[in-house]
């Protein structure tokens, strides 16, 4: 294989992969795709609604709003099960708006709804009733929102605090972090995005080699403004899966790629800590681009993804459909066996007379049966 042809082929495969995701959603190894039920997955993954953010004039407040925005997008803010599956505030409120295509198995009914009292997420508020409600648009009309934005009251702060600690079983947020998120949500309003439409998400392309550079240039050409890692909404990591030498097998390749990704994450964390900026690493989407002979590795990724989808689907199914066999067959069977067990000591109480009667009756009935049937 000619080494010079590789970047072009890699990019072609990257595009193919993205296109394939739109047609064949479960194959996509991108986490966000799991909670999107949408006619156009590609659009949902690459664009987002305009953020209705009116940045305040005051410098201290600006800083607070920026911090709040970062926390709003970090799964670590919610903690608990949400952090484990990668849900953040912005999963439901994309860019501070709503998300009409949000569909999390077991929590959502129709796309764009969520049951905030589901026991999957919360041990406090789980009510075992499936009652999903539409996700509100935080940048929408304030009168339509349930929680008052009145700065003189603490309604919003109390609500967000309860949401984190009770709805999602998250850790207790620090007062500064809570205030930042409140400041961010308060800065959202319909006046700030009049006439704005959906915008491309900010992307950061990482990776060594010409493949990453080519992808970076192409994306910039189509309007996806490449951003710095700390600011980007998504990080696209282009790993070079080409064999180091011909003796490398699939397993070695996977080990090498995961080592590259881990290295990158370490570097990112170090850089961010050094500049003291940002509270969470933006969601890292390692887009491992495969060459055709690496199909096996790709199958593994697809399998892991399908397994996750299956488990979530099963939880949803079990929540939606009560087990009829368990209720109508197993429970009566167990109860009947229990009654039989209590009958045992009555039947066999150690009395010789009773046992003699059993023997007599048994032989008599047997003789009668034989006389009738034979």
């Amino acid at each position: 294989m000619d080494r010079r042809q590789r970047p072009a082929r890699l990019l072609g495969l990257a595009v193919l992969l993205l296109v394939a995701t739109a047609a064949d959603a479960p194959q996509l190894p991108i986490r966000e795709a799991r909670w999107l039920k949408t006619p156009d997955l590609l659009a949902d993954l690459t664009t987002q609604p305009a953020e209705c953010l009116a940045m305040p004039k005051d410098a201290a407040l600006r800083q607070s709003v920026e911090t709040g925005r970062a926390l709003f997008r970090s799964p670590l803010m919610l903690g608990g099960q949400a952090a484990r599956v990668g849900l953040s505030c912005s999963s439901c409120h994309r860019n501070g708006r709503s998300n009409p295509h949000f569909h999390f198995p077991g929590i959502s009914g129709d796309p764009g709804t969520a049951d905030v009292t589901a026991s999957i997420m919360s041990s406090h508020r789980g009510d075992d009733i499936f009652n999903p409600k539409p996700i509100p648009d935080l940048g929408g009309e304030p009168a339509k929102l349930r929680i008052s934005r009145d700065p003189t009251k603490r309604d919003l702060s109390v609500f967000i605090h309860g949401l984190i600690t009770q709805e999602f079983d998250g850790p207790e947020p620090s007062p500064a972090a809570l205030d930042s998120v409140v400041a961010y949500v308060n800065a959202l309003g319909p006046g700030a995005c009049v006439g704005k439409t959906d915008v491309p998400i900010t992307l950061a392309v990482l990776g060594e080699g010409s493949a990453a550079r080519t992808l970076h240039d192409r994306l910039a050409g189509t309007g996806y403004v490449p951003a710095d890692v700390a600011e980007a909404r998504c990080v696209l990591y282009v790993a070079d899966p080409g064999p180091v030498d011909t003796a490398e097998n699939d397993l070695d390749c996977a080990v090498r790629l995961s080592a590259e990704v881990a290295d990158l994450v370490r570097q990112l964390v170090g850089k961010l800590a050094a500049v003291g900026r940002g509270v969470g690493v933006p969601e890292l989407l390692p887009a491992v681009i495969m060459e055709p002979q690496r199909r096996r590795l790709r199958r593994h990724l697809a399998f892991l993804h399908q397994l996750g989808t299956y488990l979530l689907a099963r939880v949803e199914y079990q929540r939606r459909v009560p087990d009829r066999i368990e209720h109508r067959l197993y429970h009566p069977l167990i109860a009947g066996a229990g009654r039989l067990r209590r009958l045992g000591p009555v039947l066999a109480n150690g009395s010789v007379h009773r046992y003699l009667a059993y023997g007599f009756l048994g032989v008599t009935v047997l003789l009668l049966t034989l006389a009738v049937t034979r």
Partner: protein
Amino acid sequence: MTSPAAFVATAVQVVVVAAGAPLLVGLMRQVHARLAGRAGAGIGQPWRDLRKLLRRQPATPVDTGWPFRTAPLLLMGSSLVLAAVVPLLTTASPLDPAADLFAVVGLLALGTVTLALAALDTGTAFGGMGASREITILALVEPTLLVAIFALSVPVGSTNLADIVTSILHDPSRAITPANLLAGVALGLAVVAETGRLPVDNPSTHLELTMVHEAMVLEYAGPDLALVELASAMRLSVFLGLWATLFAPWGIAADAGVGALALGTLAFTVKVTALGAALAAGEVFLAKLRLFRVPELLAGSFVLALLAVVASFFFG
């Protein structure tokens, strides 16, 4: 069927049982002694005991009547008839029509009842206690015996023991049907109870208040005791032989030829010896059951027998 050879075969069967029974008892005692860490008296000791007893002068307690005097003879007689009737060495016996399930169980019960009446006749406390216990056990064991052998007779369509044995010989897969296995366990428990082995009765004691069989024969002495002992040993042999014949009938002679008879004798000896040794070895690890718990065991065996019949109706 009723050729002279068949009569000879039956006679050989009776002789083998009568001569071998004390040896079987001796073997079981020897196995028990060896496993318990004793040297043991040897396999021939029961025969030596019998010889010693037969030489003694007959003695009967005062105020005992005909039940006490006739019991040893009746017991011996019923045991001899059993040894002749049950197909142990050969199925080609001139007494074949008498080898009926009910007749055999009746003969077995007859011996026990005779001995119980004799024990009552002595008027002693031990005799009465032993008889009472023996009859209790008998009443619980008889249904098990009947029903278990029933389970075997249902697929054959005959209550004749020889027919049952022949059918299993022709179709060996029948030996491992659920009905057969259940009946085997039930009949095994019944045999243990009826022959007075552990955990129902302890055959090696004359001193316990809980003894059953030995309490009944406590007043016998001399030749009468020898008869009772020999008859009891023969009953044990017949019971073990019956169990072996019903559940592992291989080797039993189908005709009265000399070779077949020799093979049948060898197979019978091996099977009964193995069963007796296994029984004795098992007894080493068992304690005697409390008398009030014995009905539970026997009721359990009856339930197994009943299950065997049900299984033979549905799967047989």
